[in-house]
Point group: C2
Chain length 137, copies 2
DNA sequence: TAAAGTGTTCGACGGAGGTCGATCACCATG
DNA sequence: CATGGTGATCGACCTCCGTCGAACACTTTA
């Protein structure tokens, strides 16, 4: 699963449009923010995305509060901001989260209903996992 | 996830006993056959095991027939028997399958009820995935 | 404009894991 | 006992990916 933005070399164009018909005042950074709808995500990518403990921590923390209330930097993760940014990109490309720029910060939202529709029970499985577990593989 | 048999160096001994109280005539090869109950498997290991497309093919083929009817060599997989053996070991250590020796062959069984109890919906997700998909990641 | 805060990108590194050929162990059959 | 079949094990190779520091881009605030 390549995360780089120029890796959109898929043979079949994705059917789900980003629904950004509004030519609203969009920040510069948001232009590089490509999203993938859960319906266009393979099971391989979904499982791979959620197989990482750091990414599951993000998902669980995100589910603990309302949408659009957590910026990337507010998560308690044992990695640097570079790795952090990487994990958020993977989750975004796997259709797990949605991101939106708010000033200099990037707010997040768990795509609960869409992802549940595409992979029923998978998010519940992650959210029912007990917190922390620092010694796991 | 180490698969080697001597890697049983876990700090906490697993609670689920293999239930092999029968001192029945057991083949020599079966002595090296260590199983892990799905209840003792972490979500990380479960997701990692099912994230591989070859292993998901095994699971899907296994679900297509009755228990104990498919030997390891009867699966249609695009890998050599060495890699094949590796994947079966990973699935066994993740509590997904159970294996039993029958003569010179090793028969397999999908641990449907136990695994469903430990990770509800996960197997259904895999089994509902469309077959083949040779070009996926 | 300068400085601080937030997040991404880049290049590099290291470990984990999927893959293979070769070999070995066990079982069945002649 | 010899042969063939099945599957595990070993060592090696190679790709993928999680990780980091450094640099960069954008935004806000002083």
């Amino acid at each position: 699963m390549n995360v780089r933005p120029e890796s959109n070399t898929s043979s079949t164009p994705p059917p789900h449009l980003p629904d950004e018909g509004h030519t609203q005042s969009q920040s510069q950074r948001a232009r590089n923010l490509s999203h993938v709808h859960p319906a266009d995500v393979t099971l391989s990518d979904a499982l791979t995305a959620l197989a990482d403990p750091v990414r599951r921590t993000i998902v669980k923390e995100l589910a603990g509060g309302p949408d659009w209330t957590r910026a990337c930097g507010t998560f308690d993760l044992p990695v640097t901001k570079a790795t952090r940014s990487h994990h958020f990109a993977v989750l975004r490309q796997a259709g797990v989260i949605e991101q939106r720029d708010a000033g200099s910060r990037r707010l997040n939202r768990l795509r609960r209903p869409e992802f549940d529709a595409a992979f029923p029970g998978l998010l519940d499985l992650v959210l029912s996992e007990r917190r922390a577990d620092p010694g796991e593989s």
